[in-house]
């Protein structure tokens, strides 16, 4: 691939370079297999990290790339979770098809919502997403005949994955499954942000006023990415429901929306790996802190957040990118990237 690119005009390379697989990326994805060998007893945590990472990735596409802040993204996570749970409860426990159906539902709702979302920005947008999310939560709570209300959805029975791998106590199947889905969705997201559409999204984030002035249908773009993001969030929810065979109202809750936002910002919004890194750091830190000190762990999480903001602006990846670019610019001001992946 890259061999063929030698001798190509710089202008192509300039746009092609950021789409290349870096060694660090490949190393990262290989590292995601380590839990299988090094931390078998952490597999169930690993699977939930992967699920959260997927959720954060879905938020990154709208927040990090299109600049749409949402405080109600758990709505789609929860929709996916309940859809997957209900399908399994009513006799169809096949995970993959359940995943697809759940994602589809989330996508449809996301598309419907996107017509509202695209019209607003700033605080109004944040509060409207928040409001819609809370409304859905209350609806799910009062529709206890369907959702099981506050006790959570009961009687979710999953069939073995591919008819062969049971969801085991170790979370072995759970992690394999979550990781595989995360990786596939990541590939899609990666391709998406390196496409012309991805460029248009960055355009919307960089300057929503200019976009119409160059003939770009911003609203259409926003509707599209929002629906895609909803599908991914729905997948994350479905994965959680399937791997734990539990669904509760908290899947829709404000807390979850807020957490994923924090996770994404922590890792670095607008960077493909921001959400994933954020999920790993936040959840592992939380697991460790709360293991040591179940009552006051969030004190340390709080300090962590404050430290990151003050030391590494724009999240961990953003901060690092800044440091490195400052560092490198001292040696040579080689052509720098707007948004490193």
């Amino acid at each position: 691939m890259s061999a063929a690119l030698e001798g190509l005009a710089e202008r192509y390379l300039h746009l092609e370079r950021p789409t290349r697989w870096r060694k660090s990326e490949i190393a990262f994805w290989i590292a995601t297999l380590l839990p299988f060998f090094l931390f078998e007893s952490y597999l169930s945590l690993a699977s939930q990290v992967a699920i959260t990472a997927l959720f954060a990735l879905s938020l990154d596409l709208i927040l990090g790339y299109a600049g749409i802040v949402s405080l109600g993204h758990a709505a789609f996570f929860g929709l996916g979770a309940y859809a997957a749970g209900l399908i399994a409860k009513h006799g169809w426990g096949e995970p993959l098809s359940g995943l697809v159906m759940a994602a589809a539902l989330a996508g449809v709702v996301g598309y419907a919502a996107s017509f509202i979302i695209a019209r607003f920005r700033h605080l109004a947008l944040i509060m409207i997403t928040l409001g819609l999310g809370l409304l859905l939560y209350e609806a799910a709570n009062s529709a206890s005949w369907l959702t099981g209300g506050a006790d959570g959805l009961q009687g979710v029975r999953m069939w073995p994955l591919l008819g062969y791998f049971k969801f085991d106590l170790f979370g072995f199947t759970a992690y394999t499954y979550s990781l595989a889905v995360l990786f596939l969705v990541f590939l899609v997201a990666r391709r998406l942000i390196h496409s012309p559409f991805g460029l248009s999204l960055r355009g919307i984030r960089e300057n929503p006023v200019r976009m119409p002035a160059i003939g770009a249908p911003s609203h259409a773009h926003i509707r599209k990415i929002y629906s895609i993001s909803a599908v991914m969030a729905g997948m994350a929810g479905a994965l959680l429901a399937q791997t734990t065979s539990t669904v509760s109202l908290e899947a829709l809750g404000f807390q979850r929306s807020a957490d994923v936002l924090v996770i994404l910002i922590l890792g670095g919004a607008g960077r493909l790996y921001g959400g994933i890194l954020g999920a790993i750091i936040y959840m592992v830190a939380r697991d460790q802190f709360s293991g040591v000190n179940p009552q006051y762990w969030y004190f340390w999480i709080g300090l962590l957040l404050i430290a990151v903001v003050t030391l590494l602006p724009n999240g961990i990846l953003g901060g690092l990118a800044q440091w490195t670019s400052r560092w490198s610019s001292r040696w040579s001001s080689s052509s720098r990237r707007g948004t490193p992946p």
Binding site: G131, L303, G315
Partner: protein
């Protein structure tokens, strides 16, 4: 029937006034500096705990605790403003969210560590308890007191914004920061002071809130949503807006729960979403 209507409206208004005192500070600071301070309710919580400590441990009278709550919260905010907030004025609002959420976590943990997770018990002085009947309508004494306080605060705020030099500077800074700078107003300083006053009000609100909604370490988080609703619906930087929004939300919430209880939980959010779709900048908002 009419009696109960009046009663319901009154209760709603009183609840709204509580929301107003809690949120007005955030509205002004957000409007002036666009600084997303999600830790606003942490200052409220601080005020609450100060009041509780003074009342229960030192047996202070309730009224004496209120100014202390105000001052304590204001002081705390000054410290934080110097230590942390100041670094992030020019940072992205996402970073501001992260910082202030971090502060919320720390404050909740600290409160739980110091005061325990228990629900703080408070005993109002007898003359603030129970209710008075007027024209066959039941008015809770404490709510009457709350409304009075809130109205007084509103009056003071509006008056000082309209008629003092500092108020003028604040208004200028809210309307247009660049221009204010041009006019030689020290926006940084103006903001710091406003921020302190706003947080102080939050602290006062925290102290006033205990009797009605209780106080435990969760407060800093659980009331954040309501405060944000008031701020966004009212419109950034607008005291009148916050007042209108708070009373509107309070009344619609209580009235809704009374007349259509099955909608009880939905109503406040429905109202908010509806209003924001109608006026994205809020009732009295410019931007």
């Amino acid at each position: 029937m009419l009696a109960s209507l009046v009663g319901v409206l009154f209760d709603g208004f009183a609840y709204g006034m509580l929301l107003f005192v809690l949120s007005v500070g955030l509205s002004v600071t957000l409007g002036m500096m666009n600084f997303v301070n999600l830790a606003h309710c942490s200052f409220a919580m601080l005020g609450g705990y100060i009041a509780v400590t003074l009342m229960n441990a030192l047996a202070w009278p309730f009224f004496a605790t209120l100014p202390v709550a105000f001052v304590a919260a204001a002081a705390a905010s000054v410290v934080l403003e110097r230590a942390l907030y100041r670094r992030l004025y020019r940072a992205s609002d996402l970073d501001q969210c992260l910082l202030t959420i971090g502060i919320v976590f720390v404050s909740i943990a600290s409160a739980a560590y110091i005061y325990g997770t228990i629900q703080q018990p408070v005993q109002m002085p007898p003359y603030l308890r129970g209710s008075v009947v007027f024209l066959g309508v039941n008015f809770a004494v404490y709510r009457l007191f709350l409304v009075g306080t809130a109205l007084a605060i509103t009056f003071v705020l509006v008056a000082s914004l309209e008629y003092t030099r500092f108020g003028a500077q604040v208004r200028a800074a809210v309307d247009n920061q660049r221009m204010a700078r041009g006019l030689g107003i020290n926006v940084q300083r103006t903001f710091a002071i406003t921020f302190a006053l706003g947080s102080g009000l939050a602290g006062l609100g925290g102290a006033l809130a205990i009797e009605m909604v209780g106080l435990d370490p969760g407060f800093a988080f659980s009331f954040l949503i309501y405060v944000l609703i008031v701020v966004s619906v009212g419109g950034l930087g607008s005291i009148g807006g916050s007042f209108a929004a708070a009373s509107l939300l309070g009344i619609s919430d209580v009235a809704g729960k009374y007349y259509v209880p099955q909608l009880g939980a939905f109503l406040i959010y429905l109202v908010m979403v509806g209003l924001l779709m109608w006026r994205p900048a809020g009732l009295f908002g410019k931007r």
